[in-house]
Each structure stands twice: as C-alpha cells, then as structure tokens.
Amino acid sequence: MQMLREGESLGEAGKTKIIAIILVVIIIAGIGAGIYYYFAARPKPLKLLLTYHAPNPDERKVAEILKATWTELGIDLETRGMEWDAQWELAKADPLKAQDVFVFYWWPTILSAYDYLFNMFHSEEEILFNLCYYNNSEFDELIDEAFALEGVNRTKALELYEEAQTILMEDCPAICFYDQKNIHIIRKGIKGYIDNPAYPHVVFWYELQPPTDTENDTFVEAWDSVIFTTCDPSESFSNEIIVMHSMYETLLRYLPNGTIVGVLATNWTVSEDGKTWTFWLRKGVKFHDGTPFNATAVKFSIERTIDMGMGAAFIWDSVDQIITFDDNPYKIQFKLKYPAPLDTIACSSYGAFIFSPSLAKIGNNTEIWQWLNKDVFEGSPPYSYGTGPYYLYDWKPGEYAIFKKFDDYWGGWDDPHYEMIIVKYVAEPTTRKQGIIGGDYDFTLGLPLEELDDVNASGVAVVVATPSYQNLLGLLNTRKPPLDNKLVRQALAYATPYEQIINEVMLGKYAVKSVGPVPRGIFGFSENIPQYEFNLTKAAELLEQAGIKTPKSAAIVMAYIGSLIPCFLAIAFSPFSVRKRGVDEWDSEAI
C-alpha cells in the first residue's frame, strides 16, 4: 500500500480504500466483541450437579422438579441418578470434584436429633455421611453438649439442639424437603396394629388381635425385599429388623409419642453426671431355649455386640464398663466414658437386642455368627435365642420365614393373639397388590402410591399412613464454589417448590414439609427455627447479592440476540456487499 504524501489529495480510489479499511476494522472489532461477549462476558447458566439414588422414584421426581424450577433462575442443573454406593463414592472422594446437591433419605438408628445432626453435619476427619462437608465448631460443640445432657437435663438439651439447628438453618448446608409418612397396608378387621416409626416397618405381632369373625390364627406378611440378611442379632443392621423385634427384645422401647417404656428392664436411673446408668431387670423371663434371663445375659449380649463391631455396634460407643451384682442378678450398671442418653440408646432399632448366654457354649463370636447363619439349622426349632413372643420355626433363605408363638413368653397368652406368623419375600408390587386384595396376605408395603386408592376401595384392606422418622434432604456442597457461599445455598433453599414437590411426588398426603433436618417426633425437634419458603424473587436477589450473574429466562434470549448483532454487521459490511455497491477497485488496489 502506498503512503500519502503531503499535499497530495485523496482520489476517489483513496477514499474508498479508507472507508474499506474502517469497515474492516469495525467488522473485526464487532466480531471480536461478539466473540468476547459470547464466551466471556455473557452471563452463563450456573452449572450444578445433583445426585440421587436411581432406583428410588421419589428422589428422581424431586430431582426433575428442581431442575425445571431452577432453570428460571438460570441454573443448569444436571440430575444424575446413581446406584447408592456409586453416589456415595463420588461424594466421599473429593469435595471439590463432587456433586453440588446430594439428595437422600435419612432415618435414625438412635432416636435423637443427634443422630441426624451428628451424622450429616458434624465435622468429620474422613468423610462418611457429612456429605455437605459442613464444618462449624460452634455447631459441633452445641450438639455434643446437647447429646451429653439428653439423659440428665432434657430441657437444656432441647434448648441447645434448637440453637444448633438455628445456626444450621442460617448456614443452610441442606435443603430439607419433607418428612415422609410410612405407608402400610393391613387386612381390615385386624386390631392392635400401631405403626411405631422408631422401628421402621416393624409389626409388633404380639400386639395384633386376629379378626373375631374368622378362625384364622396365622398372620402373613408380604415383604418387598429379602427378609434376613443375617440371623445374628449383634450384626443385624438391615431388613431383618421386621422380624428381629418379635424374636429378640431390647431393654427399653421408644413409643410413638416419644416416651420410653421398659421391656426387659422395669426401672432405670441415671447418676447426676450422666455417666452411670442402672437398670433393674424384669424377673421371670425366659429365653426361647429355656435359659433364664438376668443381668449376665444383658452383659453377655451387649459386650458381644460391642466386641464384634459390626452393624450398629457404634451405638454403644460411650460404654466403658458393664457391671453385674452378685447379690442381685436383676440389676445391671453401665459406666460410660462420657455422658450419653443410654435410655434412648437402649431403645435403638438395631444393635440393642438381648440374647441367650447359652450361645457362648457354641464358641467365640465368629463361631456363634456361623452357627446362627447356618444354611440348614441343626436340631429342632426354636432357631432363635431371644426372649420375644415369637421364635423362628423355619426359614428358607430368600423366600420365607415362619415364626411360632413362644409359650413361655413373659407377657402371657391370655388375650387373643396370632399363633403363627409367616413372612414372605414377594418382589413384584403387582403380585403383592393382588395378594392383599385376594386375601393371601394380611400385611404388605411398598406399592406405588397411585395404586393405594385401589387398595382402599377394595374394602378388604386399609392403607395406614403414619408419620415416620424418615426425611428427604438435599445436602449442599459447602466447600465447592459457588455453593461455598452461604447466600447461594440460601438462594437454592428459597428456590425449592416444597408444596409442588409434596403434591406431585407424595400425592399431597404422604409427606409434610420438613421444618428442619430433624423430623417431627424425634427428641430435639424444634419448630422455632428459621424457615425457607418457596420464593423465586428472593432467590434471584440472593444470587445477585452473591455476585452470581446468571441469565434470566428472558435474558438468555437477549444475550443470544446480542451475540448475533456483530454477525449481522459483519455480513452487512463485508467485502462482498461492498463489491456489489460498485467499488470493485478496492479489491485490485488493495492486493
């Protein structure tokens, strides 16, 4: 290209050239700006990952509702259904690469707010169930102190739990969706059935009264998964809960109204420091094998459970020493390492069973385990070693288990009771539904919610829906940006359509909105803690406060059009258009 010399006027060609250059610059700048805007400056949707347990339809539906709702905030939520252990594995590996939202159901082993607050929110050295990676020493201290006080000063403990939960709700490491109801289906006319949420899905058979109009003395349960995963009461931590509680008993039992009553213990006291617990045991109790029940049996059972360290053995973590007394075989004392509510612990749904000390004759812990889990039982029934009202009569692994009444049960058999119980594993929901309507089964569960009205309408069976201690939570990743910002977490809690979720997923009647991470009915539950209601405007405000720019629904379109403008310009002023206007010389000169 020539340089202009002084005094030389610009010819027509020169003018065109300059215009062309300016145009090219504008076009390049325009395209550059467009690219910059599109890839860097334009607000991008916030990408978040939510994981849930794939086989669970409730969790899937919740994930879908969240995805649809959060789009309005410009959040692109990936919902990933996974097998439980894969979901858990991802969460445990590296918080910075893990999910943002971890959806799961929680149910307690120890019936205390501590079970929920400790497992999911107490800081952990190695990640286990604190899958929001929450770390707040103030909160930790509060709940530890509350748990220690539970046994001695419940009012104070309750205050501390409330304080801890207030902090938690403010920090918002989790979205609390709903407290679920337990749904069971039982034959009409059977009396005495009470669903006790402390022992999920357990039917206390002894309390049932057969219908008066039939001669039937057998109660048949159709269960939706394999009945026994183990026959060892020390190890049990799974499905067999439904049969264990009628074969084996615990010292105390937790009632649905929150009170604790004695079963194998009749009375109990605690020292002022909460570290010494004394139980007085029921007299005249026999184990299924005829061995008399006393303090030695309690000591043997609990020590074996602790030694084996399987299943729910951790509930006895606080126990230092178990003392029996020579002068009184019905008195037993627990010395604790630290104060803990041993009465609640003794009610636990798992790990707190008392069994016959005659098992010690079989050998060491492992040999007893092998004996109890034999493929073919030796000798004649009973094949269980508890004090419960029913003993194990026959068992076909993976198919059914039969129980018969234990004649020497301490509660006696004067009132009407069932003689025999059959628990079957029936995998297919339609088969269970047909069976309960057709009269083959007296009790079942796990039908799709949509089918429950059919069952009620049949007039043969009734659907019993009672509050449970199971709640659905979405644990938020408090370590990974942007959720490490409290405001973003709060925004998500406000952006959750609680009502819609309960209406669509639980048909509006099988769950209630959670107040906090601790469900109603559990000691430590409090209504006086901050709440989140569905409010998208508030959520958007919080996101903005947190400095997160996401495209709003309309904004997405605008951004798209915005990024196209430079392209239009580029086309309008491209050399091809110029040529059309008859400035052909530009080409030849420039080259």
């Binding site: 190695e126 394999v226 931590f237 995998a427």
Partner: protein, 339 residues
Amino acid sequence: MGFRSYLAKRLALSILVIFGTITITFFISRIVPSDPAALWAGSHPTHEQIEKARKMLGLDKPLHVQYINYIKDLLFGDWGYSIRFKRPVLLIIFEHLPATLELVIVGFAIAILIGIPLGVISAVKENKLTDHVTRVVSVIGASMPVFWLAIVLQMVFYGKFGILPLSGRIDSMVMLTSPLKEITGFYLLDSILTGNWIAFKSALLHIILPALCIATYPLGLCTRMVRSSMIEVLRENYVRAARASGLPERYITFRYALKNAITPAMTALGLSFAYTITGAFLTEIIFDWGGIGTYAVYAIQNMDYPLIVGLTVFVSIFYVTINLILDIIQAIIDPRVKY
C-alpha cells in the same frame, strides 16, 4: 478329522469361552465404581468396619493377585460369599437351580406337547384357516411380553376366578401341615418320590401359571419350526411314494414325515432352553418363584458383585455345556455334520 479330534476341538473352544467370560466378568466387576467392602459392612458402616471387610474379602491386595486368587478359588469350588446373603455363592446357585430347572422343564414340556401337534396340523392343512389361526397364535406366543402375560394370568385365574394360586412354589400352609422332604429340590418329583400327594397337588397348581408363561416363547418357536420343516418333508418323494402305496395319512404324517422334520426344531429348542434358564427371571419375579433368576435380579439391584459374577459364570458354563452336548448329539445322529 475324526470324531475324537472334533470333540477335543469343541471342548477346548468351550473352555476358552468360559475362561473368557470369567476374565471379563471379573474385570468388569472391579471397574464398576462401588466399594464391595462398604457393602459388606452394612448400611451405615464405620471406617474400621469397612477396612475389616476389605481385608476379609481380600480387596486390599493388588488386582492381578486378586484375579489369580479368584481363578484358583473358582477351580476349587470356592465361588466367594454373597454380600447380601452372607452365604456361599455356589450354595445359593445349587439351592435355587432346581426351582428354575423345574419351571423351565415343565414350561418346555407344555411347549413341546402342544407345539408339535400344532405345527403338524398347520403343515398338513397348509394355507387353510386352521393353518392361519395356528400361525397367528404362534407369532403372538413368540412375541408376547411375558411380564404382561404373567400379570394378566394372575388377574384372571387368581383375582377373578380364584382357581389358581397367586405365587410361590407351594402353599405355605401345606409346607407346615404336610412338609415336603426335599430330595432333588424339584417339588413335583420330590412329592411323588415321598408319596406326599397333598404337596404334589399344591406344587402342581402353583406351577401352572408360571409354566404357561415360560411356555409361550418356545411354543411359538416349536410350532413354526415344525410347520416349516414338515411342509418341506411332506413334499419329499418318499412321502409321495408312501401315499401312492396306500398307507393311511395319519401313519405317514407321524411315522415318516415328523421323524425327519423334528430335528431342526429340537436343536432350536435346546438352545432356547439354555437361554431360558436366565431368561425366566421376569416370570420368576412376578410369581415369586425363588429360582436363580430371582437371585440374579436381586444381586444386580444390590450390587452383590460376588453373586453377580458367580451367576454369570455359572450361566455361561451352563449355556456352553448345553451347546456342546447338542453339537455332539447332532454329530452322532446326523453323519452329514462336518467334523
């Protein structure tokens, strides 16, 4: 190539296939992102529990050592412990195989007993109304979704008429009042052997619906195979010669033609038998049958990897063996098979 070397070659190939299956399933089960030790330890395990379980299951050793150990254990009959059931895998398989086999055998018996006559009739009445009806029925049979059929059968025969039991292998009350002594694990056979007629009746009533479900596919297959080969055979010269010499038609059809027409149908049925052993799981689940199909589903749902691997290996051995036996039988009876 003589028969012996043919046998040796087929045997070697079979072993190779089984070995390949074992290797692939082993590595797949180790790649899957899950922690068997955590599963073994239970639903809310502590770290010590998981570590303990890892040691116990030998998962702390390097992968190649695990693989060698696994092959060694397989050969010596130690197929590992099921995580969910905490019982030996091989024991679970052998305990529940008879249930599945009984169901599949009865199903196939129904299929053959109905399928062969249907196929013959269809071929004899070629392109007549009977033939068209039979063909439509056999196509429906071969392509009907079995879970749907199972539920419909339950709704009709249990729900509506109440004449057949809903599910299970035997009535649980019968098991209590006149318990069946298990000898072979086949309830029908055991009840006959012990002369327990109450149990026999119960077991027979229980097997009808699931066996019908199992039968639909092979029934359709059998009818179609027999029909097509019968049509071919009926056009052969020797059949024409037999007709010309005035032999009765029924005699020609069943004595001469069917004998030749049945071989291809039997081969196809043999293979589909091996296949149905695992394919029966839908029927098994709906009818609560408790065979190995039920366990396969349960194992997969619960990531019970020793059981999954065990069942896979077992089924592959079963399949390959049946295949091998069929090949050998065919080689023996049909000299035209090339070695």
